[in-house]
Symmetry: C2
Subunit: 379 residues, 2 copies
């Protein structure tokens, strides 16, 4: 990319655009919030997958969280040492985690079953790899029940294995994404906190140290009122924000740092709709906001400067086509949008939309692109 910042109309569409001013503001918001409670952040890099994006979030952080070993290796190459792989360990991946440990990473892996712990124990040799037990705080995904015999049994199994070091507990209140109000989010945050803090107390009483007591999701991280008993907070989406977060009341449209630049490639005057060159390949198939009180189709349509347009959304998608129409079903006046008009689409789910792209086109205060930041994908 040339040194001279360039206007967005100099780029082909579709393009994933990252507003560096909003990114910086989002990073600062989380930092300020957690600093108030004196609890450190562990940025989850699964959303950004780019050191250029998450580097400023590392300042004062305890380490990083990752969702794949590819992210772990990437983070390690870029200087991270304390790396929590926050997805249950598949036995087939243990060798790759041990290699990272060998190379000097303090890689901490996750299990939520006795057989998962056994598989790790059988292959860990004398590595001393760290392990956390996942606790299920919301009934949505993985983990064992808080303060359960099962949690204790798994922790004991890990602690007894010569090659494993029991490090503590983690949970993720992904259920907070389905909240209906900020009060709901606060309640979920408290449930998330209690789930691990209570279990940690139980394990400590049983003689098992819990150095790590990790919680986190963007909504709960930003709205929790207590972090007592918690040693760190994980979050990833907060860097970019998205329509799901806006629908939850976690952010405003003006905080969403990510958008997809697209061109009008057709217009249907009779039906009052436009066709753009951003389909699900560029936007993703994520309809995260569909269950919220206000659905957003495949994204909210903005002008080229990023200002939301009068109630336009992407109502449907095929691979490389998006259909733009009014949310209220009335025909839009296509005369205002000749073929070639640039639009920007705010994403439902930042993680999913970013994953469809290999890099970010980064814009500064003047709205011009000053950099291209690569991101990784794959496993």
């Amino acid at each position: 990319m040339a040194d001279e910042p360039k206007a967005l109309d100099r780029f082909e569409t579709p393009q994933l655009v990252l507003d560096a001013v909003r990114l910086e503001r989002n990073l600062a918001r989380m930092k300020t919030r957690l600093a108030r409670f004196g609890v450190p952040l562990r940025p989850h890099i699964k959303t950004a997958k780019s050191i250029e994006v998450y580097r400023p979030a590392l300042e004062g952080a305890v380490g990083v969280a990752v969702s794949t070993l590819a992210e772990a290796e990437y983070a390690f190459e870029h200087g991270a040492r304390n790396i929590l792989y926050a997805v249950g360990m598949a036995p087939g991946k243990i060798g790759r985690a041990l290699k990272l440990k060998d190379e000097g990473a303090d890689i901490i892996v996750t299990v939520d079953s006795i057989d998962g712990a056994q598989a790790l124990a059988a292959r860990a040799g004398e590595s001393g790899i760290g392990v956390v037990v996942e606790i299920d705080s919301d009934g949505v995904r993985a983990g064992v029940k808080p303060e359960s015999e099962e949690a204790l049994a798994i922790a004991r199994r890990i602690d007894a294995a010569p090659g494993l070091v029991f490090r503590g507990l983690m949970t993720h209140a992904g259920g907070s994404y389905a909240s209906r109000s900020v009060e709901d989010i606060r309640a979920m945050a408290e449930r998330e906190r209690r789930a691990v803090a209570g279990t940690a107390t139980m394990l400590r009483e049983a003689g098992l140290g819990c150095e790590i007591v990790s919680v986190g999701s963007t909504p709960t991280a930003l709205f929790a009122e207590r972090f007592d008993g918690v040693t760190e907070v994980r979050a990833g989406v907060y860097m970019f924000m998205d329509l799901v977060m806006a629908g939850l009341g976690v952010c405003a449209f003006e905080d969403i740092a990510l958008s997809v630049l697209a061109s009008v490639i057709g217009r249907q005057a009779d039906r009052g709709r436009l066709i753009i060159d951003a389909g699900w390949m560029a936007l993703s198939r994520d309809r995260g906001a569909a269950k919220q009180p206000v659905g957003q189709g495949y994204g909210v349509v903005c002008d080229a400067a990023g200002r939301p347009l009068d109630d336009l959304i992407v109502v449907s998608c095929s691979q490389e086509h998006g259909i733009v129409a009014r949310r209220d079903g009335k025909p839009l006046d296509v005369q205002d949008y000749p073929v070639g008009t640039l639009l920007r689409i705010l994403p439902n789910h930042a993680c999913a939309t970013a994953a469809q792209h290999g890099s970010y086109l980064v814009t500064g205060e003047d709205g011009r692109a000053f950099a291209r930041w690569p991101r990784i994908n794959g496993w």
Copy 2:
């Protein structure tokens, strides 16, 4: 990849697996079907995005269809000359298409509006780039109405431009994906055929040659009963097939050549469900079968050999987690699936699932992987 074929348990998960035997059968089926009608195929490479996958489909084909200029450039590098870019042209991409034309590709671009045609005419110089007009045969996506004044006006505008060559018409009956029966698909195929054949007749009467009269979607290509007036058929999904096609009656589960290999990473005995390491990042967020009489969640679960298991589907997904449960909601017996068990997930939509991966792990008759075929992504 080593020369020696390897069992699938030698690979990390998630992995996109391509069954070369099923692929070959699917390619042969389409070839045989169209040969019966004497109509040539133009394979659409948007699904496969890999020369190794689509090379056998080129035999006897008139050229390729692409959904991005990246695919066009890739196809050209791999020997294709006749390339139909079957998505409406954004003015910002004209330069890149002209470059391909300069380099020797017979690149044919698509427009469905007067302003799209003007933008092309203004920048085409003396290139002689080919242009087709898109006709809307199903009311779902792009294109102008069949036999409309608008179609005629656009064709004339193209014909009058010194740098453009009017080549004919194309349409895509994507609406066939919403068919409820094979009879519906047949009716849609006839509607697709009439839309372009009728418009071609109208244009020819007006003195405009229509060398290309292109139709196509996998369902209509396989069930059409007439191709009179059609010069070529486009299809892409047919190479892999998927659950949407199976739900339409276009193929059987046993024809689906694509699957995602995953590992059990957790199991919840109390809830009777499993957690696997294939979430939406590996499976995509596509819920294409959700509107069909039998929904398939995020995919049908098979054993490691690819045999569908007793009514198990991926009921929900997060980024790197999939939740496997019984379709009927009864608890599944998790004892049968210890952590580390390999499973394979049949995709809702082959294009979307393949797009989440950088390569195919290719298996032969013995079920062992004998090759890794790279695929392209991006624009």
